[in-house]
Structure formats: structure tokens, C-alpha cells
Amino acid sequence: MYHARLMLRNANCLSNIIEGAIYRHANLSSLVVKSKNFSSTSDIKTHQENAPLEESERAGGFAKAYEKQSHILDSQENENHTFASLLRNSKLIDLGDPVGKVVIGKIFHVVQDDLYIDFGWKFHCVCTRPTNRGDEYVRGTRVRIQINDLELSSRFLGSSSDLTLLEADCKLLGIVSTPVRTSAKV
């Protein structure tokens, strides 16, 4: 979630940067490649003559922002996270009460009609293949599932400890993406 927000901020900044870059940035050769999707090439050609004049100027607001944005993801990898902070920012805590929540899982094993789905928890869940789009459920398919119970374990009468099934209990909702290439639909 945190990385998605960061990427969105990056994308917005990048589009702002490129709009400003056409008028002010000294080294346009690298930007020509990046801005192909954002603006027409005619704009870049007219302003290339102005480029040598801008080099002598002090680094303006754009250059500072560009420097900051290009290194913003580098510092993340070297940080030494404590276990407490890792846990606090983890998906498990974001989930809250797991009962009823919808998560995305990936099928890692298929046994005829049983699909073994791993959704990032300690256990996997096993769901039966649905009749709708059944052929698309193969190993590697990403699916949406709704959690009923994160671990099927309960205490039986007379025992001192719980008996666990080493499985989660989830309901299969639908497909997110599948590696199966479907033939062109009419």
C-alpha cells in the first residue's frame, strides 16, 4: 500500500517535471526518450536551441525536485527496520479483523478440482474449482478470496490442546488475472 502511494506520487511528479523540462532542462537528450509519450516531438525540437543558454544558470526549483525524485526510492532499501515497525506496517495489521475481508491470492497447486491458494498468510486455503470460467484456474492464477477463518482449529471434547487442520477457510470470489491465454472472444 505504501509503495503504491509512493509510485502514484512519483508518476504525478514525473509528468509535472517533463512538462517543465521541455523549456528549462539542460540535458534534453535523456528526456526526449522519456517524454515521447507525454508531448509531441515538435515542441522539443524548437527548444533545443535554448538548452546551452540554461546551463550556466543556478539549479532552479525543477532541478532540485528532479534530483530529489530520482533518488527518492534509493534510500528505502538501506533502512534498518526494527521488527516492531515492520509488524506495525504489515498487511496483517492492516487487515484488522480477518473475518469477511477480501484478499488476493495466487494458486500454487491444483489437484483436479481442488485449488490450493496462497494469500500471504501462514497457511494456504483450498477451494473447489467453480463452474464459471473453470478452465482459467491454473497454477499462477491470481484470484480474489474472502476469508472466513485464518486457521481451521478448534478444541475437541476431552483434549487439552486444539486440533488444527493447517489450512485457512476462504470463499473463492473470482479471477483477478490468469496466465491462460483465452482465444479471441466473438
Partner: protein, 252 residues
Amino acid sequence: MLCRNIKNRYINYAVTVFRYNSTASQVILETLPERDDAVEKKKSPLDYPDYFKVHDLFTVKDLFDARVHFGHKEGSLNDYMRPYLYGSRLGHLIFDLDITAEHLRKALNVTAHIAYRGGIICFFNRNALNAHLVENTAKECGEYAHTRFWRGGIFTNANHQFGAVTRLPDLCIFLNTQNNILNQHTAVRDSAKMLIPTIGIVDSNCNPNLITYPIPGNDDTPSAIQLYCELFKQAIKRGKEERMRFLQENDN
């Protein structure tokens, strides 16, 4: 070689005891180092706290990403596992990865040292989901694995069962100390009987008492088992490489 090391050690200790207990001047100390220089002072790997640098093999973030901190539900908690827990999240137990990391470092250190001395290491895992991975790990590092049904007397009655004088493993690594949900693996008890040191991944429903170097952590998720296998394989490889280097140096 070994005798020479012990003699050196005694000389060193004699120097320090003499220095602290007596009020003699520094002159006596200065004469003794000459004797030390004449006899070669060699440090063995056991003199270092982390000779094979196994502490660099992993970080707490690696453990976190491999889902090592997930435990079972509170209902199946073994009382002896309470000191290793960070807490409970809506009934699901979470291990304290700082404690786990410390235990894992000790275990990897022991593994590397035993591999350095040419010991036999045996991996155990009774979870069918990860059995193939564990067997492959053992094959890749040149050690042994037993992931099938364990007959009663393999350790305790080895000579009779195998029909010949058998050498038992020098270290047993349990990637899953349970046989099934209800019972502990018999080899844990048998290793303790035969004085074989054991390393074991103990989950929140396991009993860590008989295991020499328990590692509290998740033993059900394939990603966690994969991480453990990788770490033990690296530690064993480092120990073996060091051994090869040592043997080559002595041959020359």
C-alpha cells in the same frame, strides 16, 4: 597440533593469573612473550564468536518477508513457547523476530562449526508439503535427510537394525519437530538419548525442551522452510569450504 594449542593456552592463562594476583613489576611479563614467539601461537576457529560470519547470512527483514513470525492460534499454544512470543493478534500468535534471530544465529554458528570438523548432519521434516525441498537441500550441501516414516530404533538400535556398525549423525536439524499435529518426532527424544546435538524449528504448538538449539518460528509455510533450508545450506557450505582450505594448507 592440538596438543601444541592446549600448551599455548595454558601458558597464556598462567601469564594472566600471575599478573592479576601478584604485585610483581612489569619486568616478569616482558620476558614471557619471548617464549610465546618461539612456539607458534595459532588461534582455532573456536576462539572467535562468529568465525564463519553466519551473522551476515540474514536480516530480521528477511525473516519477516519469509513469514517466520506467524504462529498458530492461542488454543494450541505450548506453555514452554511463551517466552518466544511477541504477542497475539486477534488470537493468532506472533513470534518475536529479535529473539528468533538470536537463536538462529547461534544455530547457524553451530552448524558451520560442525560442518568444519567434518560432522554428519541430518535434516528431518515430516511435513509432506516441504519434504521434497528439504531432501534437495540435503543433496545440494552433501548431507543427509530423513523425511519419511521413522522406524523406532534407528538411533537407539542402529547396529542391530542396519546389521553393521553404524556412525550416527553428529547434528540433527529438525525443520519440523512434529510428526503429525499430536506427536513430537521420535528422533528428538532419541537424539537426546544418544547425545546428538539437535537444532529445531519450534512452532507455537511444539515442545522445545529436548532440543539443544531451538529456533522459535514458523514451520508450516513453504517460504519460511525455504529460507531456513537456504541458510543452513550456506552455513554448511562455508564450514566445508573452510575445512577444504585448512586441509589443503596443511598438505602443503
